[in-house]
């Protein structure tokens, strides 16, 4: 048994301790908001936060989360940064297919929680690990700025 604290709720799950958090969340806890994209930490679709740090759940064993706070897309709206990010995402119609957006929002929320006024370079470095095949990057950038209250520069 592994004791996890997911979105403020402690609970035990019966998986091997090397099981990636991604599959524990999706297949055991049926929390499907966190997405499988590559299984190798290359695409960011599975991004969650552990103690506020954006983390690729597909390569993070459940044992690494013991004693820590795991936050997923299902609860990020309860954080001040997450709430702002979700609102900006809706206002700018960021999602297209939407599959990668859980991970994008988890990375963006972690960025804003740590850095209230990110520069373009800050956005690049915080978000470069999150792939979007629909190419919503220009809107992701604009939405992060909107959430941060940073003016958008014209193309």
């Amino acid at each position: 048994m592994i004791r996890l604290n997911v979105n403020g709720k402690p609970g035990d799950i019966d998986v091997a301790k090397d099981t990636p958090l991604l599959w524990a969340l999706r297949d055991v806890l049926n929390m499907t908001g966190t997405k499988f994209g590559c299984g190798a930490g290359l695409c960011g679709a599975c991004t969650i936060q552990i103690d506020g740090q954006p983390t690729r759940s597909c390569i993070t064993p459940v044992s690494a989360a013991v004693g820590k706070r795991v936050t997923t897309i299902e609860a990020i709206g309860a954080t001040p940064a997450g709430k702002k990010v979700q609102a900006a995402w809706l206002a700018l119609n960021v999602p297209q297919c939407g599959y990668c957006q859980s991970g994008q929002i988890m990375s963006a929320s972690a960025l804003l929680a740590a850095n209230a006024k990110p520069s373009d370079a800050d956005i690049d470095s915080a978000m470069a690990g999150n792939i979007c095949r629909c190419g919503t990057y220009p809107r992701i950038r604009a939405a992060i700025k909107k959430a941060a209250g940073v003016p958008e520069t014209e193309a």
């Binding site: 190798a40 960021v94 297209q96 297919c97 190419g135 919503t136």
Partner: protein, 714 residues
């Protein structure tokens, strides 16, 4: 059936009105699919006694915004709040939910708005007229004194009001009006305004359900591995070792694949590693991309089926002042949608339930019926939002594979492709080999154009009736109908399939993406050969094509075309006419000394006729540009020793946010027929990029991807 549309109105189960309406369909294809069937209504609008409007979507949402723009068409004429229209995925039915431009239940080809712009408005208007008539009868007044607004019928003289919900039972009993007037575009309140997407709330809080999010009581998880070589066979698996992994319950052997079934995906993955499947590599064990390209090159030396023949190109080239030749090559591509392939199946003796995201529910159902012998009623497809389509989910191979596995498993099972499996067992965008020649006069003006296209026919496999006089219209798209005014044009096509086991399929922008790259690269070469400005050279050849000229000139103006740039930078332009839309793009690149190409800006101008949701048009251009740049810069599937070399996003690179250029999209406003917007953004950007690289470096990229070709030799 000549009537443009056909409507029925019936009482809905539980009360309310159910309006069924037929979308006009491309006759020849419809006949092939449904020759014995009467014309049937093929989209449904339901209004219940609470006034709630539900629209059963004939198309599926895969990011392109169709779950917003199609309800906008209905709401505009029905006079309801589009934000309150409930949307349901349609069940499988190739007749009832046929795409008007395709003839089957298919989302693709940038057809949704083109196919439904008029009929969905007619449906909305018809329902509105019936509701108004019902209200007028109730009040015993002339219907012309009543109007509908925001889900309510109002009798203006008396101020009486009735909500749609109170009128639906009466409306359902009325005859369907033969003809209803549609709004004039000047009266549109919704169409043409940027409206927020209706599908985003669940996409920002994790509650949106994709096929892979299916969860059923007792569901198992299976990870599949197919033969790593094309056409190989499974020889053995170590079942004992696989089952020794905690959670693994079953090993499913197929001729050319194995699946490990477990209580979660990680166990299944561990089980697969332990099973260490052994394969007979089969007939393609030594195959490599080089062999396939050599076959294409040889095939392209012989004449093909003629797609266009104006004047006498061969004679005009022979007699021209100069001849310009070029060969372009475009690689196999994977789709790499963010949602890896997956399908959940619950198979019993009497039924097969399937949870999947698909662009073709009806064809998928038919394939499962054939595989299992079950009846249409027994095969139930539960469609989902698609975590990206790009053409990959226009195929049912994943569902067939999942059913092959599930028929050996008790209870529901979710079959998942790892990313590596998804990339190595895709149905690839075909490799194309284009041979172009032009004769030019002393001033460099093109007097003759010859284009031979060699490659695989997706149409011949997917839907042979679309072949016309031996020519695959997709294979020659944007090539046979290239827009430049040249007196002598010859375009032919040579069908050359890759070795069996490699299946080619649709990829965003389909034929227009391949054709536009060849044509727009070559016309750029002709301009360079003539020492003329690439924009001016194109415009001179587009004499009568005012829409094409206008988008080119506007894109150029936005980009500062002609203004000098520092060394190592350049601008390239391209035109794409496709899917009923006109698009021009200018890409600006900066090329580093080590050959790294950085696209810094893209200016995109779109004339897609009537705009339904301008924000969606912009979004699709941004999307298509990023998708096309990813492929043009990095995308290729290569084969060595019979297997795909690429495995995951590390070696199948796609653009990331830090590599994405600034994108500016301008829309041309007019009232031309609406054009498609999902695909042409991708088609246009590839040659605009390589033309920009030429402007920056004088290096002409004739073979995609760009990769390291822009490196200047030391």
């Amino acid at each position: 059936m000549n009537r443009r549309h056909f409507l029925t109105a019936t009482s809905a189960i539980g009360g309310g009105v159910l309006l069924g309406f037929g979308l006009p369909t491309r006759g020849e294809i419809r006949d092939t699919l449904t020759s014995d069937a009467p014309f049937a209504p093929n989209a449904f609008l339901r209004i219940d006694r609470a006034g709630k409007v539900t629209f059963v979507m004939p198309m599926i949402e895969m990011g392109q915004g169709t779950y917003t723009s199609l309800p906008m068409l209905i709401a505009e004429e029905l006079e309801v709040d589009v934000d309150k229209v409930a949307i349901e995925h349609s069940p499988p039915d190739d007749k009832v939910y046929a795409n008007p431009l395709i003839g089957a239940q298919l989302t693709g080809g940038s057809t949704a708005i083109r196919g439904t712009y008029v009929p969905l408005r007619q449906a909305g208007a018809t329902a509105r007229v019936m509701l108004v008539t019902a209200a007028a009868q109730r009040w015993n007044v002339d219907p012309s004194t009543c109007r509908a607004q925001n889900g309510v019928v109002v009798h203006a003289p008396s101020g009486r009001k009735l909500g749609y919900g109170a009128l639906v039972d009466a409306a359902a009993k009325l005859p369907v009006p033969e003809k209803v007037a549609l709004k004039e575009p000047a009266d549109f309140k919704l169409i043409g305004t940027p409206h927020r997407r209706l599908d985003t709330t669940g996409k920002v809080n994790g509650s949106a359900k994709f096929g892979i999010d299916t969860r059923l009581p007792g569901m198992k998880f299976a990870v599949v591995a197919a033969s790593p070589t094309f056409g190989g066979r499974l020889v053995s698996v170590d079942e004992a070792k696989a089952k020794a992994v905690s959670g693994v319950s079953q090993v499913v052997r197929l001729d050319d694949a194995v699946a490990i079934v477990a209580n979660h995906t990680w166990s299944a993955k561990q089980g697969l590693a332990a099973a260490a499947p052994q394969w007979d590599a089969g007939p393609n064990a030594k195959l490599s991309t080089v062999d396939i390209v050599a076959q294409l090159a040889r095939a392209s030396e012989k004449p093909g089926a003629v797609a266009r023949h104006d004047g006498d190109a061969a004679a005009a080239i022979a007699g021209a002042a100069r001849k310009v030749d070029a060969i372009y090559e475009q690689p196999f591509l994977a789709h790499a949608a963010m949602e890896p392939m997956n399908c959940t199946v619950h198979m019993t003796k009497e039924s097969c339930d399937i949870w999947v995201g698909t662009q073709i529910p009806g064809m998928t159902q038919a394939a499962v019926m054939e595989l299992t012998g079950l009846t249409r009623a027994q095969v139930r497809i539960h469609n989902h939002l698609l975590g990206g389509g790009f053409g990959r989910r226009l195929e049912y191979d994943g569902t067939v594979r999942a059913v092959q596995i599930a028929r050996q498993v008790r209870g529901p099972v979710q079959v998942i492709w790892t990313r590596e499996e998804d990339i190595q067992h895709d149905m690839y965008r075909p490799y194309y080999y284009d041979r172009l020649s032009a004769g030019v006069d002393a001033q460099g003006k093109a007097v003759a154009w010859s284009h031979r296209i060699t490659g695989s026919s997706i149409v011949a496999r997917y839907f042979p009736p679309w072949l016309k006089d031996g020519v695959d219209p997709d294979a020659v798209e944007a090539s046979a109908n290239q827009p430049y005014g040249i007196s002598n044009i010859h375009v032919d096509w040579v069908a050359q399939e890759p070795p069996s086991g490699i299946t080619t399929s649709w990829w965003r922008g389909v034929g227009a993406t391949r054709g536009t790259f060849a044509v727009e690269s070559f016309v750029d070469e002709l301009a360079a050969n003539a020492k003329q400005d690439p924009l001016a050279y194109r415009v001179a050849l587009l004499d009568k094509n005012t829409r094409a000229k206008a988008v080119l000139q506007l894109a150029a103006a936005q980009s500062g075309w002609g203004k000098p740039l520092p060394a190592g930078q350049g601008r390239g332009i391209a035109l794409c006419i496709g899917f009923g839309s006109f698009i021009a793009q200018v890409v600006q690149v900066s090329v580093d000394k080590d050959g790294t190409v950085n696209p810094t800006y893209v200016w995109c101008v779109v004339d897609c006729g009537v705009q339904v949701n301008p924000d969606t048009i912009r979004a699709q251009m941004e999307s298509g540009i990023v998708f096309g740049l990813s492929a043009a810069l990095h995308g290729q599937i290569t084969i060595k020793d019979g297997r795909v070399e690429q495995t995951n996003f590390g070696d199948y690179r796609v653009l990331r946010i830090n590599e994405t250029p600034r994108i500016r999209v301008d829309l041309v406003k007019n009232l031309e027929a609406p054009g498609g917007i999902g695909e042409p953004g991708t088609s246009c950007v590839m040659p605009a990029l390589t033309n920009a690289i030429f402007a920056a470096t004088a290096k002409r990229i004739r073979k995609l991807p760009v990769g390291e070709q822009a490196r200047t030799e030391a």
